[in-house]
Amino acid sequence: MKLLTHMKPWMWWAVGGAIAVFAALLPLINLSIPGILPGPTYTPGTLQLLALALLFSSLALSYHLLFGVGGMLSFGHALYFALGAYGLGIVLKTTQLSLVPAMGLTVAAVICIAYLLGALSLRVTGISFAMVTLAFAQAGNVLVRRNPQITGGDEGLQLETQNVPDFLLGVLNTRNLYWVALALLIIVFIVVALFEHSRAGHVVTATRENELRVRVIGIRPFMVKLVTFSIASVLAALVGMVHLLLQSGVTARASSADFTLTILVIVVLGGVGSRWGAVVGAIVYTLLDQRLTALASSDAIAGLPAILRIPLSEPLFILGTLFILVVLFLPGGIAGAVQRMDKGGVRRNPAKETSSEIARDKIEEVT
Protein backbone atom coordinates (compact mmCIF):
# COMPACT_ATOMS: atom_id res chain seq x y z
CA MET A 1 0.00 0.00 0.00
CA LYS A 2 1.40 3.29 -1.03
CA LEU A 3 -1.59 5.41 -0.38
CA LEU A 4 0.11 8.42 1.11
CA THR A 5 2.87 8.66 -1.45
CA HIS A 6 0.36 8.85 -4.26
CA MET A 7 -1.84 11.48 -2.72
CA LYS A 8 -1.90 14.79 -4.50
CA PRO A 9 -1.59 17.97 -2.45
CA TRP A 10 -5.28 18.82 -2.88
CA MET A 11 -6.18 15.44 -1.47
CA TRP A 12 -4.20 16.22 1.64
CA TRP A 13 -6.08 19.46 2.07
CA ALA A 14 -9.39 17.67 1.49
CA VAL A 15 -8.62 15.08 4.14
CA GLY A 16 -7.41 17.82 6.47
CA GLY A 17 -10.61 19.79 5.91
CA ALA A 18 -12.75 16.74 6.62
CA ILE A 19 -10.89 16.13 9.87
CA ALA A 20 -11.34 19.78 10.83
CA VAL A 21 -15.09 19.59 10.20
CA PHE A 22 -15.31 16.42 12.24
CA ALA A 23 -13.35 18.05 15.05
CA ALA A 24 -15.70 21.02 14.95
CA LEU A 25 -18.68 18.70 15.40
CA LEU A 26 -17.25 16.81 18.37
CA PRO A 27 -18.86 19.00 21.08
CA LEU A 28 -22.25 18.30 19.53
CA ILE A 29 -22.02 14.53 19.47
CA ASN A 30 -21.77 11.87 22.10
CA LEU A 31 -18.61 9.93 21.43
CA SER A 32 -16.83 8.00 24.16
CA ILE A 33 -13.35 6.55 23.97
CA PRO A 34 -12.91 4.90 27.36
CA GLY A 35 -9.39 4.95 28.68
CA ILE A 36 -8.33 7.74 26.38
CA LEU A 37 -10.87 10.47 26.95
CA PRO A 38 -12.12 11.14 30.45
CA GLY A 39 -15.74 11.13 29.28
CA PRO A 40 -18.05 11.64 26.29
CA THR A 41 -16.90 14.32 23.86
CA TYR A 42 -19.64 16.79 24.73
CA THR A 43 -18.65 16.99 28.41
CA PRO A 44 -16.62 19.99 29.55
CA GLY A 45 -13.81 17.94 31.07
CA THR A 46 -13.20 16.14 27.80
CA LEU A 47 -13.52 19.30 25.74
CA GLN A 48 -11.07 21.00 28.05
CA LEU A 49 -8.57 18.22 27.46
CA LEU A 50 -9.14 18.28 23.72
CA ALA A 51 -8.83 22.05 23.62
CA LEU A 52 -5.51 21.77 25.45
CA ALA A 53 -4.40 19.20 22.90
CA LEU A 54 -5.34 21.56 20.07
CA LEU A 55 -3.42 24.40 21.66
CA PHE A 56 -0.36 22.22 22.06
CA SER A 57 -0.76 21.30 18.40
CA SER A 58 -0.67 24.95 17.41
CA LEU A 59 2.30 25.55 19.64
CA ALA A 60 4.09 22.53 18.20
CA LEU A 61 3.40 23.85 14.71
CA SER A 62 4.94 27.18 15.58
CA TYR A 63 7.97 25.32 16.87
CA HIS A 64 7.99 23.21 13.74
CA LEU A 65 8.28 26.43 11.76
CA LEU A 66 11.26 27.47 13.83
CA PHE A 67 13.05 24.15 14.16
CA GLY A 68 11.76 21.81 11.48
CA VAL A 69 11.67 24.42 8.71
CA GLY A 70 14.18 27.00 9.84
CA GLY A 71 16.58 24.63 11.60
CA MET A 72 16.72 27.00 14.56
CA LEU A 73 16.98 24.82 17.64
CA SER A 74 15.55 27.09 20.30
CA PHE A 75 15.44 26.24 23.97
CA GLY A 76 13.47 29.37 24.68
CA HIS A 77 10.33 29.13 22.57
CA ALA A 78 8.24 28.96 25.74
CA LEU A 79 9.17 32.59 26.37
CA TYR A 80 6.89 33.74 23.53
CA PHE A 81 4.04 31.55 24.65
CA ALA A 82 4.46 33.07 28.10
CA LEU A 83 4.69 36.57 26.63
CA GLY A 84 1.33 36.05 24.97
CA ALA A 85 -0.31 34.66 28.08
CA TYR A 86 1.20 37.06 30.59
CA GLY A 87 0.98 39.98 28.17
CA LEU A 88 -2.74 39.54 27.64
CA GLY A 89 -3.31 38.81 31.31
CA ILE A 90 -1.51 41.96 32.38
CA VAL A 91 -3.18 44.14 29.75
CA LEU A 92 -6.61 42.89 30.82
CA LYS A 93 -5.76 43.49 34.44
CA THR A 94 -4.27 46.95 34.14
CA THR A 95 -6.32 48.52 31.35
CA GLN A 96 -9.98 48.75 30.49
CA LEU A 97 -9.45 47.40 26.99
CA SER A 98 -11.83 44.72 25.84
CA LEU A 99 -10.53 41.36 24.72
CA VAL A 100 -9.76 41.92 21.04
CA PRO A 101 -7.94 45.25 21.37
CA ALA A 102 -6.07 43.82 24.33
CA MET A 103 -4.93 40.92 22.17
CA GLY A 104 -3.89 43.35 19.46
CA LEU A 105 -1.82 45.36 21.90
CA THR A 106 -0.16 42.17 23.17
CA VAL A 107 0.67 40.98 19.67
CA ALA A 108 2.25 44.33 18.89
CA ALA A 109 4.39 44.06 22.00
CA VAL A 110 5.37 40.49 21.20
CA ILE A 111 6.42 41.46 17.69
CA CYS A 112 8.75 44.11 19.09
CA ILE A 113 10.26 41.81 21.70
CA ALA A 114 10.63 38.87 19.33
CA TYR A 115 12.25 41.09 16.76
CA LEU A 116 14.69 42.49 19.27
CA LEU A 117 15.63 39.24 21.01
CA GLY A 118 15.62 37.38 17.69
CA ALA A 119 18.02 39.91 16.20
CA LEU A 120 20.34 39.39 19.15
CA SER A 121 20.19 35.60 19.34
CA LEU A 122 20.47 35.08 15.59
CA ARG A 123 23.96 36.46 15.68
CA VAL A 124 24.99 32.95 16.62
CA THR A 125 23.91 29.56 15.30
CA GLY A 126 23.66 25.92 16.32
CA ILE A 127 24.02 24.98 19.95
CA SER A 128 25.09 28.49 20.79
CA PHE A 129 21.79 29.79 19.48
CA ALA A 130 20.01 27.20 21.57
CA MET A 131 21.87 28.41 24.63
CA VAL A 132 21.25 32.12 24.06
CA THR A 133 17.55 31.50 23.60
CA LEU A 134 17.64 29.35 26.72
CA ALA A 135 19.35 32.15 28.59
CA PHE A 136 16.80 34.76 27.48
CA ALA A 137 13.92 32.49 28.36
CA GLN A 138 15.51 31.77 31.70
CA ALA A 139 15.85 35.48 32.33
CA GLY A 140 12.17 35.87 31.42
CA ASN A 141 11.30 33.08 33.82
CA VAL A 142 13.30 34.75 36.59
CA LEU A 143 11.61 38.09 35.95
CA VAL A 144 8.20 36.45 36.11
CA ARG A 145 8.97 34.74 39.38
CA ARG A 146 10.58 37.78 41.00
CA ASN A 147 7.83 40.26 40.25
CA PRO A 148 4.73 38.87 41.89
CA GLN A 149 3.06 42.30 42.01
CA ILE A 150 2.80 42.23 38.23
CA THR A 151 2.88 38.56 37.32
CA GLY A 152 1.68 36.78 40.44
CA GLY A 153 5.10 35.16 40.73
CA ASP A 154 5.05 31.43 41.12
CA GLU A 155 1.45 31.58 42.23
CA GLY A 156 0.53 32.58 38.73
CA LEU A 157 -1.59 35.28 37.19
CA GLN A 158 -5.36 34.93 37.23
CA LEU A 159 -7.44 36.00 34.26
CA GLU A 160 -9.28 39.26 34.87
CA THR A 161 -12.69 38.33 33.52
CA GLN A 162 -14.30 41.74 33.56
CA ASN A 163 -13.61 42.47 29.90
CA VAL A 164 -13.78 38.93 28.62
CA PRO A 165 -17.05 38.09 26.84
CA ASP A 166 -19.29 35.80 28.86
CA PHE A 167 -19.41 33.08 26.23
CA LEU A 168 -15.75 32.36 26.94
CA LEU A 169 -16.20 31.94 30.69
CA GLY A 170 -17.37 29.09 32.86
CA VAL A 171 -17.24 25.37 32.47
CA LEU A 172 -20.44 25.22 30.47
CA ASN A 173 -18.83 27.38 27.81
CA THR A 174 -15.79 25.16 27.50
CA ARG A 175 -16.99 24.14 24.07
CA ASN A 176 -16.75 27.73 22.85
CA LEU A 177 -13.16 27.78 23.98
CA TYR A 178 -12.67 24.46 22.25
CA TRP A 179 -13.89 25.99 19.00
CA VAL A 180 -11.62 28.96 19.47
CA ALA A 181 -8.67 26.60 19.96
CA LEU A 182 -9.68 24.65 16.86
CA ALA A 183 -9.96 27.81 14.79
CA LEU A 184 -6.55 28.90 16.01
CA LEU A 185 -5.04 25.57 15.02
CA ILE A 186 -6.50 25.83 11.53
CA ILE A 187 -5.17 29.36 11.14
CA VAL A 188 -1.73 28.42 12.43
CA PHE A 189 -1.61 25.39 10.16
CA ILE A 190 -2.46 27.46 7.10
CA VAL A 191 -0.01 30.20 7.99
CA VAL A 192 2.79 27.69 8.50
CA ALA A 193 1.96 25.83 5.29
CA LEU A 194 1.84 29.02 3.24
CA PHE A 195 5.09 30.22 4.71
CA GLU A 196 6.82 26.95 3.96
CA HIS A 197 5.80 27.27 0.32
CA SER A 198 6.71 30.91 -0.05
CA ARG A 199 10.01 32.07 -1.44
CA ALA A 200 11.08 33.16 1.99
CA GLY A 201 10.22 29.67 3.22
CA HIS A 202 12.50 28.18 0.60
CA VAL A 203 15.30 30.52 1.48
CA VAL A 204 15.05 29.73 5.16
CA THR A 205 15.14 26.02 4.36
CA ALA A 206 18.20 26.64 2.23
CA THR A 207 19.74 28.63 5.05
CA ARG A 208 19.21 25.69 7.35
CA GLU A 209 21.12 23.57 4.88
CA ASN A 210 24.01 25.87 4.20
CA GLU A 211 24.04 29.40 5.43
CA LEU A 212 27.29 30.40 3.81
CA ARG A 213 26.03 29.29 0.42
CA VAL A 214 22.98 31.52 0.77
CA ARG A 215 25.22 34.50 1.25
CA VAL A 216 27.39 33.61 -1.67
CA ILE A 217 24.41 33.61 -4.02
CA GLY A 218 23.65 37.09 -2.77
CA ILE A 219 20.96 36.71 -0.09
CA ARG A 220 21.29 37.89 3.48
CA PRO A 221 20.04 34.95 5.54
CA PHE A 222 19.76 36.96 8.71
CA MET A 223 16.60 38.81 7.69
CA VAL A 224 14.68 35.80 6.52
CA LYS A 225 15.65 33.90 9.66
CA LEU A 226 14.54 36.82 11.75
CA VAL A 227 11.22 36.93 9.93
CA THR A 228 10.73 33.21 10.52
CA PHE A 229 11.68 33.60 14.15
CA SER A 230 9.23 36.47 14.58
CA ILE A 231 6.35 34.66 12.88
CA ALA A 232 6.94 31.57 15.01
CA SER A 233 7.07 33.74 18.11
CA VAL A 234 3.86 35.58 17.32
CA LEU A 235 2.08 32.30 16.64
CA ALA A 236 3.31 30.98 19.97
CA ALA A 237 2.08 34.15 21.65
CA LEU A 238 -1.37 33.70 20.10
CA VAL A 239 -1.48 30.19 21.51
CA GLY A 240 -0.45 31.59 24.87
CA MET A 241 -3.37 34.02 24.79
CA VAL A 242 -5.97 31.39 24.08
CA HIS A 243 -4.34 29.21 26.72
CA LEU A 244 -4.83 32.04 29.21
CA LEU A 245 -8.52 32.09 28.38
CA LEU A 246 -8.86 28.33 28.52
CA GLN A 247 -7.08 27.96 31.85
CA SER A 248 -8.36 31.27 33.28
CA GLY A 249 -4.78 32.01 34.21
CA VAL A 250 -1.13 31.35 33.57
CA THR A 251 1.74 30.21 35.75
CA ALA A 252 5.50 30.64 35.68
CA ARG A 253 5.94 27.13 34.30
CA ALA A 254 4.81 28.53 30.96
CA SER A 255 8.09 30.40 30.66
CA SER A 256 10.37 27.62 31.83
CA ALA A 257 12.94 25.67 29.88
CA ASP A 258 11.02 22.53 30.81
CA PHE A 259 8.11 23.81 28.84
CA THR A 260 10.25 24.38 25.75
CA LEU A 261 11.60 20.87 26.17
CA THR A 262 8.02 19.64 26.27
CA ILE A 263 7.38 21.27 22.91
CA LEU A 264 10.56 19.78 21.54
CA VAL A 265 9.48 16.36 22.78
CA ILE A 266 6.15 16.82 21.02
CA VAL A 267 7.71 17.80 17.73
CA VAL A 268 10.09 14.84 17.85
CA LEU A 269 7.30 12.48 18.82
CA GLY A 270 5.34 13.64 15.79
CA GLY A 271 8.35 13.68 13.47
CA VAL A 272 10.69 16.59 12.85
CA GLY A 273 9.94 18.38 9.61
CA SER A 274 6.38 17.16 9.32
CA ARG A 275 3.46 19.54 9.83
CA TRP A 276 0.79 17.01 10.55
CA GLY A 277 3.33 15.09 12.59
CA ALA A 278 3.56 18.07 14.92
CA VAL A 279 -0.22 18.15 15.25
CA VAL A 280 -0.58 14.42 15.90
CA GLY A 281 2.41 14.46 18.24
CA ALA A 282 0.82 17.18 20.34
CA ILE A 283 -2.49 15.37 20.58
CA VAL A 284 -0.86 12.10 21.54
CA TYR A 285 1.38 13.83 24.05
CA THR A 286 -1.41 15.76 25.75
CA LEU A 287 -3.64 12.73 26.06
CA LEU A 288 -0.76 10.64 27.40
CA ASP A 289 0.33 13.32 29.81
CA GLN A 290 -3.14 13.76 31.27
CA ARG A 291 -4.16 10.14 31.25
CA LEU A 292 -0.93 8.77 32.64
CA THR A 293 -1.51 10.80 35.77
CA ALA A 294 -4.82 9.00 36.18
CA LEU A 295 -3.20 5.66 35.46
CA ALA A 296 -0.40 6.26 37.96
CA SER A 297 -2.81 6.67 40.84
CA SER A 298 -5.12 3.86 39.78
CA ASP A 299 -5.89 0.79 41.87
CA ALA A 300 -4.39 -1.49 39.26
CA ILE A 301 -0.99 -0.01 39.91
CA ALA A 302 -1.38 0.34 43.66
CA GLY A 303 -1.69 -3.43 43.88
CA LEU A 304 1.59 -4.21 42.13
CA PRO A 305 4.79 -5.26 43.91
CA ALA A 306 7.11 -2.38 44.76
CA ILE A 307 9.55 -2.95 41.94
CA LEU A 308 6.80 -2.35 39.39
CA ARG A 309 4.64 -0.04 41.44
CA ILE A 310 7.25 2.61 42.16
CA PRO A 311 8.20 3.32 38.56
CA LEU A 312 4.69 2.88 37.20
CA SER A 313 3.13 5.24 39.68
CA GLU A 314 5.31 8.06 38.32
CA PRO A 315 3.66 9.45 35.19
CA LEU A 316 6.83 11.19 34.11
CA PHE A 317 8.73 7.95 34.31
CA ILE A 318 6.31 6.31 31.91
CA LEU A 319 6.36 9.33 29.64
CA GLY A 320 10.14 9.57 29.65
CA THR A 321 10.55 5.89 28.95
CA LEU A 322 7.99 6.00 26.19
CA PHE A 323 9.80 8.94 24.68
CA ILE A 324 13.11 7.07 24.72
CA LEU A 325 11.46 4.11 23.04
CA VAL A 326 10.01 6.33 20.33
CA VAL A 327 13.38 7.89 19.63
CA LEU A 328 15.10 4.51 19.59
CA PHE A 329 12.60 2.54 17.61
CA LEU A 330 10.52 5.07 15.71
CA PRO A 331 13.01 7.27 13.86
CA GLY A 332 11.14 10.16 12.30
CA GLY A 333 8.51 9.88 15.01
CA ILE A 334 4.91 9.08 14.20
CA ALA A 335 5.11 10.69 10.77
CA GLY A 336 8.21 8.67 9.91
CA ALA A 337 6.59 5.44 11.05
CA VAL A 338 3.47 6.04 8.98
CA GLN A 339 5.58 6.87 5.96
CA ARG A 340 7.60 3.68 6.32
CA MET A 341 4.47 1.58 6.70
CA ASP A 342 3.06 3.25 3.64
CA LYS A 343 6.11 2.52 1.57
CA GLY A 344 6.37 -1.03 2.74
CA GLY A 345 9.70 -2.66 1.96
CA VAL A 346 10.03 -1.14 -1.49
CA ARG A 347 13.41 0.36 -2.22
CA ARG A 348 13.34 4.05 -2.54
CA ASN A 349 13.98 6.07 -5.57
CA PRO A 350 16.67 8.58 -4.67
CA ALA A 351 14.75 11.38 -6.31
CA LYS A 352 11.83 10.80 -3.97
CA GLU A 353 13.79 10.95 -0.76
CA THR A 354 11.36 12.62 1.60
CA SER A 355 12.27 16.04 2.69
CA SER A 356 11.48 15.28 6.30
CA GLU A 357 14.11 12.59 6.45
CA ILE A 358 16.62 14.83 4.87
CA ALA A 359 15.60 17.57 7.23
CA ARG A 360 16.31 15.26 10.12
CA ASP A 361 19.73 14.41 8.85
CA LYS A 362 20.49 18.04 8.36
CA ILE A 363 19.31 19.18 11.70
CA GLU A 364 21.67 16.72 13.25
CA GLU A 365 24.43 18.82 11.87
CA VAL A 366 23.05 21.87 13.57
CA THR A 367 23.42 20.46 17.01
Partner: protein, 242 residues
Protein backbone atom coordinates in the same frame (compact mmCIF):
# COMPACT_ATOMS: atom_id res chain seq x y z
CA UNK B 1 48.52 -17.71 -10.80
CA UNK B 2 48.38 -17.32 -7.05
CA UNK B 3 45.11 -16.98 -5.19
CA UNK B 4 43.68 -13.44 -5.16
CA UNK B 5 44.20 -11.46 -1.96
CA UNK B 6 40.66 -10.05 -2.09
CA UNK B 7 37.52 -11.49 -3.64
CA UNK B 8 34.40 -9.38 -3.82
CA UNK B 9 31.23 -11.09 -4.87
CA UNK B 10 27.82 -9.52 -5.25
CA UNK B 11 28.74 -6.62 -3.01
CA UNK B 12 25.93 -4.13 -2.49
CA UNK B 13 25.98 -1.10 -0.24
CA UNK B 14 23.65 1.47 1.16
CA UNK B 15 24.16 4.99 2.53
CA UNK B 16 21.45 6.60 4.64
CA UNK B 17 18.94 4.04 3.47
CA UNK B 18 19.80 4.47 -0.18
CA UNK B 19 21.43 1.83 -2.32
CA UNK B 20 24.64 3.15 -3.90
CA UNK B 21 26.32 -0.08 -4.97
CA UNK B 22 24.22 -2.66 -6.79
CA UNK B 23 26.23 -5.82 -7.10
CA UNK B 24 29.94 -5.67 -7.58
CA UNK B 25 32.10 -8.69 -8.25
CA UNK B 26 35.86 -8.64 -8.81
CA UNK B 27 39.15 -9.94 -7.52
CA UNK B 28 42.34 -8.23 -6.47
CA UNK B 29 45.45 -10.24 -7.35
CA UNK B 30 48.03 -10.76 -4.64
CA UNK B 31 50.57 -8.58 -6.42
CA UNK B 32 50.72 -5.16 -7.99
CA UNK B 33 48.18 -2.40 -8.37
CA UNK B 34 44.57 -2.97 -9.31
CA UNK B 35 42.84 0.23 -10.41
CA UNK B 36 39.14 0.71 -9.80
CA UNK B 37 37.91 3.14 -12.44
CA UNK B 38 34.67 4.76 -13.48
CA UNK B 39 32.91 8.05 -13.91
CA UNK B 40 31.67 10.21 -11.08
CA UNK B 41 29.12 8.63 -8.85
CA UNK B 42 29.43 5.07 -10.14
CA UNK B 43 30.23 3.85 -6.65
CA UNK B 44 34.02 3.52 -6.45
CA UNK B 45 34.34 5.15 -3.07
CA UNK B 46 31.29 3.32 -1.85
CA UNK B 47 32.75 0.00 -2.96
CA UNK B 48 35.86 0.61 -0.87
CA UNK B 49 33.79 1.72 2.08
CA UNK B 50 31.54 -1.29 1.64
CA UNK B 51 34.52 -3.64 1.72
CA UNK B 52 35.62 -2.02 4.97
CA UNK B 53 32.16 -1.98 6.50
CA UNK B 54 32.18 1.81 6.81
CA UNK B 55 28.74 1.80 5.24
CA UNK B 56 25.94 -0.75 5.39
CA UNK B 57 26.73 -3.55 2.97
CA UNK B 58 25.90 -7.12 1.94
CA UNK B 59 27.33 -9.78 -0.32
CA UNK B 60 30.52 -11.73 0.11
CA UNK B 61 33.97 -10.30 0.70
CA UNK B 62 36.83 -12.71 1.12
CA UNK B 63 40.20 -11.46 2.27
CA UNK B 64 43.10 -13.88 2.28
CA UNK B 65 40.58 -16.67 1.98
CA UNK B 66 38.55 -15.56 5.01
CA UNK B 67 35.12 -13.98 4.93
CA UNK B 68 35.27 -10.45 6.33
CA UNK B 69 31.86 -9.16 5.35
CA UNK B 70 30.46 -9.67 8.82
CA UNK B 71 33.26 -8.05 10.75
CA UNK B 72 33.30 -4.56 12.24
CA UNK B 73 35.52 -2.07 10.48
CA UNK B 74 38.24 -2.08 13.09
CA UNK B 75 38.49 -5.86 12.91
CA UNK B 76 38.81 -5.78 9.13
CA UNK B 77 41.58 -3.22 9.34
CA UNK B 78 43.29 -5.22 12.06
CA UNK B 79 43.29 -8.28 9.84
CA UNK B 80 45.77 -6.47 7.61
CA UNK B 81 44.16 -3.88 5.36
CA UNK B 82 45.36 -0.29 5.11
CA UNK B 83 42.97 2.41 3.97
CA UNK B 84 43.66 5.85 2.52
CA UNK B 85 40.35 7.72 2.29
CA UNK B 86 39.21 9.99 -0.51
CA UNK B 87 39.76 13.30 1.28
CA UNK B 88 42.89 12.50 3.29
CA UNK B 89 41.02 12.75 6.60
CA UNK B 90 43.99 13.48 8.79
CA UNK B 91 43.26 14.46 12.37
CA UNK B 92 43.75 18.18 12.12
CA UNK B 93 44.08 18.86 15.83
CA UNK B 94 46.64 16.10 16.38
CA UNK B 95 50.28 16.48 15.55
CA UNK B 96 51.84 14.52 12.70
CA UNK B 97 53.51 12.24 15.23
CA UNK B 98 50.22 11.67 17.04
CA UNK B 99 48.48 10.87 13.78
CA UNK B 100 51.12 8.25 13.17
CA UNK B 101 51.02 6.91 16.70
CA UNK B 102 47.28 6.44 16.43
CA UNK B 103 47.62 4.47 13.24
CA UNK B 104 50.43 2.18 14.36
CA UNK B 105 49.50 -1.39 15.13
CA UNK B 106 51.98 -3.70 16.82
CA UNK B 107 54.51 -0.92 17.12
CA UNK B 108 54.39 0.18 13.51
CA UNK B 109 56.84 -2.26 11.88
CA UNK B 110 57.42 -0.21 8.73
CA UNK B 111 58.47 2.95 10.48
CA UNK B 112 61.75 3.07 8.61
CA UNK B 113 60.19 2.63 5.22
CA UNK B 114 57.80 5.48 5.90
CA UNK B 115 60.52 7.73 7.22
CA UNK B 116 62.51 7.06 4.13
CA UNK B 117 59.57 7.67 1.80
CA UNK B 118 58.43 10.86 3.47
CA UNK B 119 61.36 12.56 5.19
CA UNK B 120 59.23 15.69 5.19
CA UNK B 121 56.98 14.17 7.83
CA UNK B 122 59.84 13.39 10.13
CA UNK B 123 60.86 17.02 10.00
CA UNK B 124 57.33 18.11 10.83
CA UNK B 125 56.57 15.53 13.51
CA UNK B 126 55.44 18.14 16.02
CA UNK B 127 53.30 20.20 13.63
CA UNK B 128 49.52 19.98 13.82
CA UNK B 129 48.31 18.03 10.84
CA UNK B 130 45.64 20.65 10.15
CA UNK B 131 48.23 23.26 9.31
CA UNK B 132 49.94 21.10 6.70
CA UNK B 133 49.45 21.79 3.03
CA UNK B 134 47.22 19.46 1.04
CA UNK B 135 50.12 17.46 -0.30
CA UNK B 136 51.68 16.97 3.09
CA UNK B 137 48.36 15.85 4.45
CA UNK B 138 48.15 13.30 1.68
CA UNK B 139 51.54 12.02 2.76
CA UNK B 140 50.35 11.62 6.33
CA UNK B 141 47.32 9.77 5.08
CA UNK B 142 49.46 7.41 3.01
CA UNK B 143 52.01 6.99 5.77
CA UNK B 144 49.31 5.93 8.20
CA UNK B 145 48.46 3.04 5.94
CA UNK B 146 52.02 2.13 5.02
CA UNK B 147 53.41 2.08 8.53
CA UNK B 148 51.70 -1.20 9.38
CA UNK B 149 52.37 -4.66 8.02
CA UNK B 150 49.37 -4.79 5.74
CA UNK B 151 48.57 -7.43 3.19
CA UNK B 152 46.40 -5.07 1.15
CA UNK B 153 46.00 -1.32 0.68
CA UNK B 154 42.79 0.42 -0.38
CA UNK B 155 43.62 3.88 -1.68
CA UNK B 156 40.98 6.35 -2.87
CA UNK B 157 41.99 9.16 -5.26
CA UNK B 158 45.33 9.94 -3.67
CA UNK B 159 46.18 12.67 -6.17
CA UNK B 160 42.96 14.63 -6.08
CA UNK B 161 43.60 18.33 -5.66
CA UNK B 162 47.34 17.95 -5.54
CA UNK B 163 49.77 20.14 -7.42
CA UNK B 164 51.55 18.40 -10.32
CA UNK B 165 54.83 18.21 -8.45
CA UNK B 166 53.21 16.46 -5.52
CA UNK B 167 51.33 14.13 -7.85
CA UNK B 168 54.73 12.95 -9.01
CA UNK B 169 55.92 12.39 -5.46
CA UNK B 170 52.81 10.49 -4.48
CA UNK B 171 52.93 8.33 -7.56
CA UNK B 172 56.52 7.44 -6.85
CA UNK B 173 55.69 6.58 -3.27
CA UNK B 174 52.81 4.36 -4.33
CA UNK B 175 54.98 2.62 -6.87
CA UNK B 176 57.44 1.73 -4.17
CA UNK B 177 54.76 0.59 -1.78
CA UNK B 178 53.29 -1.64 -4.47
CA UNK B 179 56.49 -3.59 -4.63
CA UNK B 180 55.69 -4.99 -1.21
CA UNK B 181 51.91 -4.85 -0.89
CA UNK B 182 49.07 -5.30 -3.37
CA UNK B 183 47.01 -2.13 -3.82
CA UNK B 184 43.42 -1.50 -4.84
CA UNK B 185 43.53 2.04 -6.20
CA UNK B 186 40.74 4.43 -7.16
CA UNK B 187 42.11 7.13 -9.43
CA UNK B 188 40.82 9.62 -12.00
CA UNK B 189 44.21 10.70 -13.31
CA UNK B 190 44.82 8.21 -16.11
CA UNK B 191 48.49 9.05 -16.30
CA UNK B 192 48.86 7.91 -12.73
CA UNK B 193 46.87 4.79 -13.57
CA UNK B 194 49.10 4.09 -16.52
CA UNK B 195 52.20 4.52 -14.41
CA UNK B 196 51.04 2.21 -11.65
CA UNK B 197 48.25 -0.18 -12.53
CA UNK B 198 48.61 -3.79 -13.62
CA UNK B 199 44.94 -4.60 -13.67
CA UNK B 200 41.84 -2.46 -14.03
CA UNK B 201 38.28 -2.95 -12.85
CA UNK B 202 35.76 -0.53 -14.33
CA UNK B 203 32.45 0.29 -12.68
CA UNK B 204 29.29 1.71 -14.13
CA UNK B 205 26.20 2.46 -12.05
CA UNK B 206 27.13 0.08 -9.30
CA UNK B 207 28.16 -2.84 -11.52
CA UNK B 208 31.49 -4.08 -12.87
CA UNK B 209 31.61 -3.59 -16.65
CA UNK B 210 35.22 -4.44 -17.43
CA UNK B 211 38.08 -6.35 -15.87
CA UNK B 212 41.44 -6.93 -17.48
CA UNK B 213 45.08 -5.96 -17.80
CA UNK B 214 45.70 -2.22 -17.47
CA UNK B 215 47.67 -1.68 -20.65
CA UNK B 216 45.17 -3.51 -22.75
CA UNK B 217 42.38 -1.33 -21.43
CA UNK B 218 44.20 1.98 -21.57
CA UNK B 219 45.37 1.37 -25.11
CA UNK B 220 41.90 0.46 -26.30
CA UNK B 221 40.51 3.80 -27.41
CA UNK B 222 37.06 2.44 -28.02
CA UNK B 223 36.75 0.91 -24.57
CA UNK B 224 38.11 3.84 -22.64
CA UNK B 225 35.98 6.27 -24.58
CA UNK B 226 32.90 4.19 -23.95
CA UNK B 227 33.49 3.51 -20.27
CA UNK B 228 35.34 6.60 -19.11
CA UNK B 229 34.44 9.08 -21.84
CA UNK B 230 38.03 9.82 -22.60
CA UNK B 231 41.20 8.35 -24.03
CA UNK B 232 44.53 8.82 -22.40
CA UNK B 233 46.25 10.46 -25.34
CA UNK B 234 43.53 13.13 -25.43
CA UNK B 235 44.35 14.41 -22.02
CA UNK B 236 47.95 13.51 -22.16
CA UNK B 237 48.59 15.81 -25.11
CA UNK B 238 48.98 19.03 -23.21
CA UNK B 239 50.04 17.33 -20.03
CA UNK B 240 53.18 15.97 -21.62
CA UNK B 241 54.77 19.28 -22.23
CA UNK B 242 54.26 20.22 -18.61
Amino acid sequence: MTAPILRVEGLGARIAGQQVVESVTFEVPARGVTALLGRNGVGKTSTLKGILGLIERWGAVEFNGERIDNLATHRIIQSGIGYVPEDREVFASLSVAENMRLAERNGGPNRELVDELFPELLARAGQLAGTLSGGQQQMVSLARALVNDNTLLLIDEPTKGLAPLIVLDVTTALGRAAEAVPILLVEQNLQVVRALADTVVVLESGLVVFTGPANEFLDNEELTTELLGVHLTDVGATGDNA
